[in-house]
Subunit: 657 residues, 2 copies
């Protein structure tokens, strides 16, 4: 399967090997199974009253000749079906469900009928513009949609053993490999929205057909070459935009097509595309042992996480182009911070972790997961945030439509561009995949999520049963199942949020001196069946401050406990959240509140509030400074915000030094 | 001339009575005469290479039948010609200039030819949609354009004694008075953009015809009555917008038409319209002795200046609708802060000052004038700011087009919607009008601008010759010219920026105890010819802080000296303006710099700068606070910013307590 970077990448652990049973996460996974996936199926079939029309399933039926009608929706509507199928596949892998499987099989039959003779599959072009196939890669997501369906095909094959969708997508991939390339008669192109790159690597891994890996690498390396494929294509098309019908100038950085990917120094343009691209680049780097490509991944990783990421693991600070801005420009109120971008960041982090097991990747993965991703969905699984601001004032948002029209103070039921809800579903349904990996004889536990896993370590089978108090306590316990005494290292991540940890093996405390490498405690021993490892991570409520160059957070502090970032909401603190001042020395009290969002730890503190009663009416004064009055402040985990109606919210509050 | 509010409003002093000769302001007035007015005439005639086309003069020629062609430009393009003529009239009043007068006379002849049989005058409707006259008051500015031409007509008549334009506009006003009203066959309407209200009062004062005052009051009181005229009109028109061609919902607060004006509690909607409206309301209140209308003016005045005004005297904090936002929402970087809105605020303040001489009106007038208005124009009079932000980061503005497309880091040559440049010209050309007023036997000096004025006080003629060191020093001197010993009170404003003042009369220091009323020192005596009064206002560089509810300015400080608000620019401080931290105790040094913008006082201080070298790479840390390193910081007056190329700028900087 190719030469890995450093010649020893970790083996990914499939979600199929992991069964999650966790007081925190099982709720979400059950929600995906019981509510989100069924609800989304109804939405994709246009059967949810009051929700925006999707058209996604009927587009396939029309393309399949099973139904009359017009194409409906975005040009990339097919991908919603693909992401739904992928999520369904993960659910089936965890637990077979003949009703769900039948729905999926029927959908796959329709997809098969919608496929064209030559292997081509895309309902927009098939139904609406058959003559324009491959004429607008810049804007129209043909390869993006293909990629999502490839991911679904691999997941469905792995879940059920059924090859039908896999074969459909191999045929399409074979056709794509004929169309694109540098050979005679081929088109030297790539897609405006990255996705097929990582999907082709999955197809390669599932089939062993290296043609798919080569095609992925081709797309990766072709991007950003000069003269620009996108500019040439747009000119051939007469220069008009698919979206506006108006003349367009191709904004190359938006598409990460301004430079070859190996030469890009900062994350620029549409944030989701950047991280999908990077996930694909990491895949290719790993499979091909390509160091310079891996270096490019690391360079952009560093740029994102040290200069362009919100404390919640959100990325993409501008609504303009749903894009990265300049370094350290991280406005809290006008943030775009798309849910899908954090999901893509998790994909990227996960791949980096396989190549180079280092806790810095898992720290970011965890940050995005516990904060932005689950904030993206309501507790009932029926409404979603596309945009995840870190500060909201509903009155200002509603008055100032220009700057805030993308910001919604409450979750929405469905979206015309419905990328985020099915993306959350497929991530949560495959969450097991992110917990462990194996590299040589080292078993890594990246996340602390309860459940069981069966691993193959140096030829032996190792079972781990994890129970975890996260995110409310830092107590984690593993029980080892082995057939016979087995040597391996168990590597437990020491998260960036914990200043001290203790580990006990069969009740005996370990001296960790010399055992920590790349952010993991590595416990090497001859393990016996029933051995127990207890990890205890200190998890105080902590004050976090921003890099001095993040100007909007100057003089401000955020609270974090364990992986959870906290926020102050109007429901707890009254209106005027920005008037809260948290003294640097105020004690932070943690208490469990069972009443909100399934139960959570609040943080309360004896804080202060700006006291403007004495200031008087003047807007500007030279002879006064601001007074403060004592007031209790309450913070809840960010993921649980906006579950009590519309109100103000802020992650960063003023700090009194 | 009607019963004044409180039955004793001040007598306005015409710009004709005042001749300005001042080291600071004469430059601007000469610039208007020598550069701005000639340049704008060329621009209005489409003879400036590289500037946006205006079409304004040729529209009149086409309407007059003197030229073939199509109407060009905004629906309110006529008003640019009107504002230019008004500025030209003020220049002619100060100094006759036969070449300029000939140009103006010829333009007026064309305007006369463009007037229709029935008195109607508007080139858009005459040339382009004659059948649609008076069908879109909501959006199309017919009465707004009429108002501006009435102002020009009055100014030109007063300057030259020539009645032609005055007669044209009286004919038009007579016709408007037939069309609008509650009588049979009349239309119960008013304009989407206020302006005619204040213009009709000028016409009334110039002609003595009370019909114009009554019509003004009608427009004032009709606004915001229910059912809504704008909604009904829009429905009659088929519901489509003139601007977009799309169905429109009338945003009544945008037009200040959501409530009758006497019931409006906060300034809402398009900022220029609000202050033009309030100026007209104050005029009507004064002429009619209408207390409830004056109370409405005071209520909205208070709302603007205590909750919605920038420290620079700018108003309108949202680009969305060029509008007021909610109370205390005063973002520095996305501010709209239109130059015209500050000019309108000056109009409003000036009228309030006539009714109720209180320094709080003059303080705001001065703040807007010395900061936003002159910041609006480059030192060479050839480029302009439409939008006046208090903080600019060019890199962020350019990347984030959605939030910042209205913000330009450098002044522009001309605008498709060219309202601001001619508005600056007419304000500066009539600046004399704002310096003094007389109420009974009290002579008020509101502003400290050198020059001569001849006043009529209780039957006697009083000459004042003022010399002023403002804005660089607070030393002002008056010499009194009287034919014979004359009793009157000289009232000198004590600005809000000066904590102490001394006054000497003929070299003898006055004891001010008991002499200060409503913010003015009132010196009552029998004045002799040659009497000299010296006012010395303390003018230290001062730190100013914002009301605690202005969240973007929390922990920040601005510098002000005299009326001038200061800012830090990249040209002096290097990039990263937001890293400047000014200790609360740092000494502020004032020094004159002759090299910049005609010479100005800089303020320098031993400040600090965020030192992020030691912070490391992490975006977020719990174990570090921000370090500071010493660095000299330099501030220049805000009005002089952006005269050294494109760079960062901020009025508010961080303060170290």
């Amino acid at each position: 399967m190719g030469q890995a970077v450093e010649n020893e990448s970790a083996t990914p652990v499939s979600h199929k090997q992991v069964s999650i049973s966790d007081p925190f996460w099982s709720y979400y996974i059950d929600l995906v199974r019981d509510v989100v996936v069924p609800y989304q199926w109804e939405a994709l079939n246009d059967r949810v009253e009051g929700a925006e029309k999707s058209g996604a399933v009927s587009n396939f039926k029309i393309a399949a000749g099973l139904q009359q009608g017009d194409y409906y929706g975005m040009v990339f509507q097919d991908s919603d079906v693909a992401k739904w199928l992928e999520a369904a596949a993960y659910l089936l892998a965890a637990r077979r469900d003949s009703a769900l499987e039948q729905i999926a099989d029927e959908m796959i039959d329709i997809i098969g009928l919608a496929q064209q003779e030559d292997g081509y599959l895309n309902t927009f072009y098939t139904v609406k513009e058959p003559e324009n196939r491959w004429t607008n890669l810049t804007e129209c997501h043909e390869l993006y949609c293909a990629g999502h369906m490839m991911e679904a095909a691999v997941a469905y094959y792995e879940a059920t053993g059924k090859r039908k969708l896999l074969d459909i997508m191999c045929r399409f991939a074979d056709y794509i490999a004929e169309v694109f390339g540098d050979g005679p008669g081929q088109m030297p192109g790539y897609d405006g929205h990255q996705e097929i790159e990582l999907a082709l690597v999955k197809l390669y891994r599932a089939t062993g057909n290296s043609k798919y890996l080569e095609l992925s690498q081709y797309f990766v390396d072709e991007r950003g070459q000069q003269p620009s494929f996108f500019e040439a294509e747009t000119e051939r098309r007469g220069g008009l935009s698919h979206w506006s019908g108006m003349p367009m100038k191709v904004d190359l950085p938006y598409f990460q097509a301004h430079l070859p990917v190996r030469e890009q120094l900062t994350a620029a343009g549409h944030a989701v595309r950047v991280v999908y691209m990077l996930a694909g680049m990491a895949d290719v780097a790993r499979e091909k042992g390509d160091h310079t490509l891996f270096d490019a991944c690391k360079r952009l990783w560093d740029n994102i996480v040290t200069k362009q990421m919100y404390i919640t693991g959100a990325i993409g600070s501008m609504a303009q182009g749903e894009a990265f801005s300049v370094d350290y420009d991280l406005p809290n109120d006008t943030a775009y911070a798309e849910t899908c971008a954090s999901i893509g960041l998790i994909f990227f982090a996960h791949r980096m972790l396989q190549i180079e097991p280092d806790s810095r990747y898992a720290d970011v993965l965890e940050r995005a997961l516990y904060n932005t991703v689950i904030a993206g969905m309501s507790r009932d699984g029926k409404s979603f945030f596309y945009v995840n601001p870190l500060e909201v004032s509903p009155a200002v948002c509603e008055g100032n439509n220009k700057n805030y029209n993308h910001v919604k103070p409450v979750r929405q039921e469905w979206f015309g561009c419905a990328c985020c809800p099915p993306n959350i579903a497929r991530l949560l349904a495959s969450l097991g995949e992110y917990v462990y990996s194996v590299k040589g004889t080292v078993v890594y536990s990246h996340l602390y999520i309860g459940g069981k896993v069966d691993l193959s370590v140096g030829g032996a089978t190792v079972g781990l049963s994890q129970s975890s108090g996260m995110p409310w306590s830092g107590d984690v316990r593993y029980e080892i199942s082995v057939d016979r005494e087995t040597s391996f290292e168990l590597a437990l991540r020491l998260p960036d949020w914990s200043e001290s940890a203790s580990v006990r093996v069969n009740g005996e405390t370990l001296d960790l001196t010399g055992l920590v490498k790349d952010g993991y405690v590595r416990i090497e021993r001859e393990w016996s069946n029933g051995d127990a490892v207890e990890l205890s991570l200190e998890m105080p409520a902590r004050r976090v401050r921003s890099h001095p160059l993040v100007k909007v957070n100057a003089g401000k502090v955020a609270l974090q406990r364990g992986p959870l970032v906290y926020c102050a909401e109007e429901a707890d603190n009254g209106a005027g959240i920005e008037q809260i001042v948290l003294p640097a020395k105020a004690e932070l009290h943690v208490s469990f509140d069972a009443s909100l969002a399934g139960g959570l730890n609040r943080i309360t503190a004896d804080a202060l509030r700006l006291d403007y009663a004495e200031w008087g009416q003047s807007l500007y004064r030279s002879d006064a400074s601001v007074r403060l009055k004592p007031e209790r402040a309450t913070f809840i985990p960010y993921y649980a915000w906006a579950n009590r109606g519309k109100g103000e919210m802020a992650v960063w509050v003023k700090e009194q030094p």
